[in-house]
């Protein structure tokens, strides 16, 4: 069935990939997807440790993370559309010009 540490290391790898994507990429939608990637990596940790502990509390936490991710997707994409309407671009550095 595989060991606990193999799942956790895979999860750490996915989290690192997501974090690198947030730093490296400029497109706001791709940055958004990288944040979802990090959330998913943490979800895998929750499920693995829930199995390890032998109770369902971790899986409930994953359920609520999914709820928050869905809400975040709705509001985040609406914000991305609003920003695109005002500056005609999706680059994250360009959005800082809105503060002026």
């Amino acid at each position: 069935m595989g060991s606990v540490s193999s799942y956790l290391i895979l999860s750490a790898l996915l989290f690192t990939i997501g974090a690198l994507g947030v730093v490296i990429r400029r497109n706001a939608i791709v940055v958004f997807m990288c944040i979802e990637l990090m959330l998913n990596a943490v979800n895998l940790t929750f499920v693995t440790l829930s199995k390890h502990q032998g109770n369902l509390d971790g899986e409930i936490a994953v359920f609520f993370v999914m709820v928050v991710a869905a809400a975040e997707a709705a509001v985040g994409l609406a914000i991305i559309i609003a920003v695109f309407r005002s500056i005609q671009s999706l680059d994250t550095p360009g959005a800082s010009s809105m503060s002026r």
Partner: protein, 169 residues
């Protein structure tokens, strides 16, 4: 079991790398789906059947469809410049590798060699429902309120122009 773990791990990591590496946002979204489905497979391996189903429905079925819809709506082309420049990319990668080595050592010290327990509790719909509607019922209601707030907020942001014209906001 070991073979399915290897295949799923390969799919998940390749999907994750694809999200970061592809230039076209549509390709990023498609590799995100590969990653999500692989993670659903992991949940099934860990006997969290309810979460495996919800992962497919909510992530691959709703969130990614929303993302693809926005990409199509805004007609996003490939990125104009090559990311953020060499210096930042290199230093971020080095930092990522150091972070990963640190985490790996930490995990090995805490959980090294511990096998996953078998035939313990199963994350079936029945078991999840029981605990969700007893121990976590307040959190469940708060989650409903959060979703309602998100719907209202998203509608406000999307309809802003018309409201500005009317002088409401």
């Amino acid at each position: 079991m070991a073979l399915s773990f290897t295949i799923l791990a390969l799919l998940a990591v390749l999907g994750g790398i694809g999200v970061v590496a592809f230039r076209n946002p549509i390709h990023c979204a498609l590799s995100m789906i590969v990653n999500m489905v692989a993670l659903a497979g992991f949940y099934a391996l860990l006997e969290a059947h309810f979460l495996a189903t919800v992962q497919i429905i909510v992530y691959a079925g709703a969130i990614i469809v929303l993302v693809v819809f926005v990409i199509m709506l805004l007609n996003v082309k490939e990125e104009s410049s090559q990311g953020r420049g060499m210096l930042l990319t290199t230093s971020a990668s080095i930092f990522g590798i150091v972070f990963l080595v640190f985490l790996g050592r930490l995990i090995n010290e805490s959980f090294g060699g511990i096998p996953l327990p078998t035939n313990l509790v199963e994350g079936s719909v029945e078991n999840i429902g029981k605990i969700l509607y007893t121990k976590y019922v307040f959190t469940f209601e708060v989650a409903g309120a959060l979703l309602l707030t998100a719907i209202v907020g998203a509608t406000m942001l999307a309809k802003r122009e018309r409201l500005v014209k009317k002088g409401v906001a």
